[in-house]
Symmetry: C2
Subunit: 482 residues, 2 copies
C-alpha cells in the first residue's frame, strides 16, 4: 500500500494521547491538534486514551474501535508490550498506516516482541514506520510527530526554542537516528534551509530508506534527498531504489559506523550491522549516491543541490580577491578529485584585454586560481565571472569574495548572482568571517540562490558533490533531463 | 635586534600618513592616533608626509629626519619605488624596526627592488616585517596597522563592521596571507576567540615565522600559536625554532599549496615555493607541530588548546545522549588515530551500579561510546563524566549533550564543566543545531572553558590535536612542565 497515508492522511489517531505535554503522547497530540486547528493539517485527529474524556479540547476515545470513523494513520506512544494488542485492533478497523514511536524492542534485545508486531502488521497489511523512532515531520501537510519539547526554559528564566522546525522547502531528510534528525532540523532551521519532509526510520520493521527514496523520487516538491544511515535494510533493494532515484534526484548519504567503535555504537543504537565500509562505498558509487564525510558536509551538499545545477565535468575555476583562500580552495578541490583546469587561450586573452582596458587591476593573476587581488571592485568580479562562465573547459566556479578588501561592497552579491543565473554552470560563493558583514553577505548570496560558505574547503566539497552527480547523469545519458 | 620594537615601540612614524581614510596611510595613521589618544597605545605617533601639516589633529612632518626625536618603528605605506630612499633615511636616524605595508615587490616580479630594500635594511640593521603585508595587530599594546576598512556601508544604508578586531586573548596568529589573516580575525571576533597578537608576514625579507615562534614562545600571555603558511622561509631554521617552541607551547599549522593548482597559486601570491608536502609533513611531525587540514580546523584546534590541557594518550571516551552523533564521533576519532578504548572493569561496574541505583536510565549502554539515551538528566551526565574521568585508560572525553532530549536543560553545562575542571584530562563538548538553545549551550560551555562544537567530527579533530601534542610532550619528557 502506498506511503501516502503517512504523509497525507485524512484522519490520525494518537494512541496514548494525553493532556500532559511532558508525556510523549501529550506532545504529539498537542502538535497535531494545534496543526489541525490552524488548518495546516487537513486530517481529523482522534486522541485515544481510556483515562481522558478530552485532550486539548478534542474528544478523547477509550479505544480505536470507539472512534467509529475511518482512520488512515495511527501514531502509537504507549509501552512496547501493549502494542501488539493495539495493532490487532487497528487491523480489524482497517487502519492503513502506523507510526510506532515507542522504544523497547530489538534495540534493547526484545527481538521477539518486535517480530510479533511485525507479523501482525503484515497480517493486517498495516504499513509501519518505526518502532523506536521520532516519526515524521512534513511541513506541507502538518503531520508532525516529533515529541521532543519545542520550548525549554533556561536557568535565566528565558524561554527558548529547543526543537525548532525548519521552513518548508525542497530537502528531504531520512534518518536512522532520531536524535540526530532532531538536531539536524535545528541546524536547518538556524541556517534557513527549507525542508520538504523529515522521516525518522528507527528499527525499520517495514518502511525503510529504499521505499522512501522511491516515494520522494516521484514527489514534485523534492529536489534532493539526504540520508543518515548506520546500515541499509536490504542491500539489493537499496541498490535498485537508489539507482532509480539518482537518475531523477540527487541522494547525499552520511553512512556511519566506519570504525570499529562506530560499528559497535551502531549495533547497540539501532541493532544494525554497519557492514564493511568498502562495500557501501562501492554500492554508493554504482548508484550515484554522493557520500558526505561529515554531518556538516551532508547539509553543505544538500544546500548546493537545492540552489545550483550539477557540474557536467570536473573542470573547476577558482575566482578570488585573496590569494590564501584561493589556494585553500585549490587544494581542497584537487584533494576531492576536481581539477583546476588551465584557462583557455580565449579566456586568458579576455583577462589581458580587461587589464589593458582598466577593467581589472593590473596586479591580478589569471592562472587558475584567478586572483583579482585586493584592488578588485564588484564590477570587476562580475566581468571576471562572465569570462570564466564562457570557458568551455570550466564546469563550475568557486567565487571567493572576501568583503574585507577596500572596494568590495555588498552589491558584489548581485553582481555574482546575475551571470551565474544565466548559465547552467554551478557557482558557489565564499566569504570568511563570523561578524555582521560576513553574515550579511552569505545570507544575501543564499537569497540569490548561490550557496555561500564560510570556508573555501566547504565550498570545494559542495562543488565536488555537484560534479560527482553530474558525472553520474552523464554516464547514464541523463544530462538533458535533469 | 629584538622584535620587541615591533610590538612595544616607544614611538611610531607613519610614512605616507594621510588625513584621507580611503588611503592606506590614512587608515593606519587614524587607527594609531586614535589608539594613542585612548591610551591603548603607549607610543608617540608621528605622521610623515610632505603634503600635510597635521593629520587627524597631530603634527605631520615632511621627512623622518624632521622629527628630531628617537623613532623605534616606522610603518611604510608609500609606492614601492620610493621605499629604498626612506629606508636609508630611517637608518641614518637610528630607526630600529620597519613594517613595509606596500606591495609591488617580488610577488609581481620586482625582485631587484626587493633585494635592494633588503640590503639597505641589513646595512642599517633595521628589522623588517613585509613588504606586501598587513603588518601587526596587537590588542594589548595598540599597535594596529591593519589598513582594511573597519566599517562599510551596505546598500541598505546600514553601516556594519567589516574588519572587526577580536578581543584580547591568548592566541597568536601568524599568517603569510594578509587577506586570510583579516578574514581570520573576523571569524575570531565573531565566535569570541581572544587574540594575543596577529602578524602578517608578507614577502618576509627579514622577520619570518621562525623568529616569531621564538618571540612568542617566551611571551607569558601566549597559550597557542596558529600558523598559516604557503612555505617556510628557511627549512632548517624552522625545524629548530618550531621544535624548541613546541616544547613550551603548541603550534597549529595550516600549510597550503598541497595540490598542483595550490602550489601555482602560492607562487603567484607570495612568490614562494610550496615544496613537497611530504617533506613538510615529516618536518611537522619531527617538531610536534599539529597540522590542521582546513581553515576551520585551525581555529577549532586553537580553541581546544586555549581552554583544555593536552591529552596524555590516545585513549578517548565518547559520552552521549544520542546514538547517531556518538557514532559520528567514534568514526571521526578512529579516523584520526584516536582509540575508543574499552572501559575498565571498575568503570563498567560503576555504570552497572548507577543503573541499579536509578542514577542512570536503564536503557543506557556502556560500551564506548557510552550512550546515556534520551532519558538522561543533567545530573546523570555529571555522574557518568566523573566515572569516565576516573578511568585510567581514558585520556580525553568528548561529551555530546544534545539539548533536544526532554530532561537536558542548560544546567548541563555547569554539570559537565565542574568535574572536567578538577581533573587534568581534556573534555570537549558537542551540541548540534543552529538556533537559540544550541547557541546558548555552546556559548556557555565556552564561558566555562570547555570548547564546544556543533558537530561531533569537529570535536574529534580538536581532541586529536590535544592528543597529538600530548604525545609530543610525553616523548620529550615534558608532561609535568606544561
Amino acid at each position: 500500500m502506498s506511503l501516502k497515508y503517512f504523509f497525507e492522511p485524512s484522519s490520525i489517531a494518537v494512541v496514548g494521547a494525553s493532556p500532559l505535554t511532558n508525556k510523549v503522547g501529550g506532545v504529539i497530540a498537542h502538535t497535531l491538534i494545534t496543526n489541525m486547528q490552524k488548518g495546516v493539517l487537513k486530517a481529523k485527529v482522534f486522541p485515544i486514551n481510556p483515562k481522558y474524556d478530552t485532550v486539548f479540547g478534542v474528544k478523547c476515545y477509550r479505544t480505536l474501535s470507539d472512534v467509529k470513523e475511518s482512520i488512515d494513520l495511527i501514531v502509537v506512544a504507549i509501552p512496547a508490550p501493549l502494542i501488539s494488542q493495539i495493532m490487532r485492533e487497528a487491523g480489524e478497523i482497517g487502519v492503513k498506516a502506523c507510526i510506532i514511536i515507542s522504544s523497547g524492542f530489538k534495540e534493547v534485545g526484545n527481538v521477539q516482541l518486535q517480530d510479533e508486531v511485525e507479523k501482525i502488521a503484515k497480517e493486517y497489511r498495516i504499513r509501519v514506520i518505526g518502532p523506536n523512532c521520532l516519526g515524521i515531520f512534513d511541513p506541507f501537510t502538518g503531520v508532525d510527530t516529533l515529541f521532543l519539547p519545542e520550548f525549554k526554559q533556561l536557568s535565566t528564566g528565558k524561554e527558548v526554542l529547543a526543537t525548532p522546525r525548519p521552513l518548508p522547502g525542497s530537502i528531504v531528510l531520512i534518518s536512522q537516528s532520531g536524535a540526530l534528525g532532531a538536531a539536524a532540523l535545528d541546524y536547518m532551521a538556524g541556517i534557513n534551509m527549507g525542508l520538504r519532509c523529515f522521516v525518522s526510520l528507527g528499527n525499520r520493521i517495514d518502511v525503510d530508506e529504499s521505499e522512501l527514496l522511491e516515494y520522494f523520487m516521484n514527489d514534485r516538491m523534492t529536489k534532493v534527498i539526504l540520508l543518515y544511515i548506520e546500515s541499509v535494510a536490504e542491500g539489493r533493494r537499496f541498490l535498485e531504489a537508489a539507482k532509480k532515484t539518482s537518475m531523477r534526484k540527487p541522494i547525499v548519504a552520511l553512512k556511519v559506523g566506519r570504525s570499529k567503535a562506530g560499528a559497535r555504537g551502531a549495533a547497540s543504537h539501532t541493532g544494525s550491522l554497519a557492514g564493511l565500509d568498502q562495500i557501501y562505498q562501492a554500492a554508493f558509487e554504482e548508484c550515484g549516491v554522493i557520500r558526505a564525510n561529515t554531518l556538516e558536509e551532508l547539509f553543505d551538499m544538500g544546500r548546493a543541490f537545492t540552489y545550483q545545477p550539477p557540474a557536467l565535468g570536473t573542470g573547476i575555476a577558482v575566482l578570488t580577491n585573496a590569494g590564501g583562500p584561493g589556494i585553500l580552495a585549490a587544494d581542497a578541490c584537487e584533494a576531492s578529485g576536481l581539477e583546476l583546469v588551465e584557462l583557455s587561450e580565449t579566456t586568458k586573452k579576455a583577462f589581458e584585454e580587461g587589464i589593458r582596458k582598466g577593467i581589472f587591476p593590473p596586479i591580478m593573476t589569471y592562472s587558475n586560481p584567478v586572483d583579482l587581488s585586493a584592488q578588485v571592485t564588484s564590477d570587476a568580479f562580475q566581468e571576471a565571472l562572465k569570462i570564466l562562465l564562457d570557458d568551455p573547459k570550466i564546469n563550475g566556479i568557486i567565487v571567493i569574495t572576501l568583503h574585507h578588501t577596500p572596494f568590495v561592497m555588498d552589491d558584489v552579491v548581485g553582481k555574482i548572482a546575475a551571470p551565474a543565473y544565466e548559465k547552467r554552470k554551478p557557482v558557489i560563493a565564499v566569504d570568511i568571517g563570523a561578524t555582521e558583514m560576513a553574515q550579511e553577505i552569505r545570507a544575501r548570496f543564499e537569497k540569490f540562490r548561490v550557496p555561500a560558505f564560510n570556508s573555501p574547503e566547504r565550498a570545494a566539497r559542495a562543488m565536488y558533490a555537484l560534479a560527482y552527480y553530474g558525472k553520474f547523469l552523464k554516464e547514464h545519458g541523463l544530462v538533458e533531463t535533469v
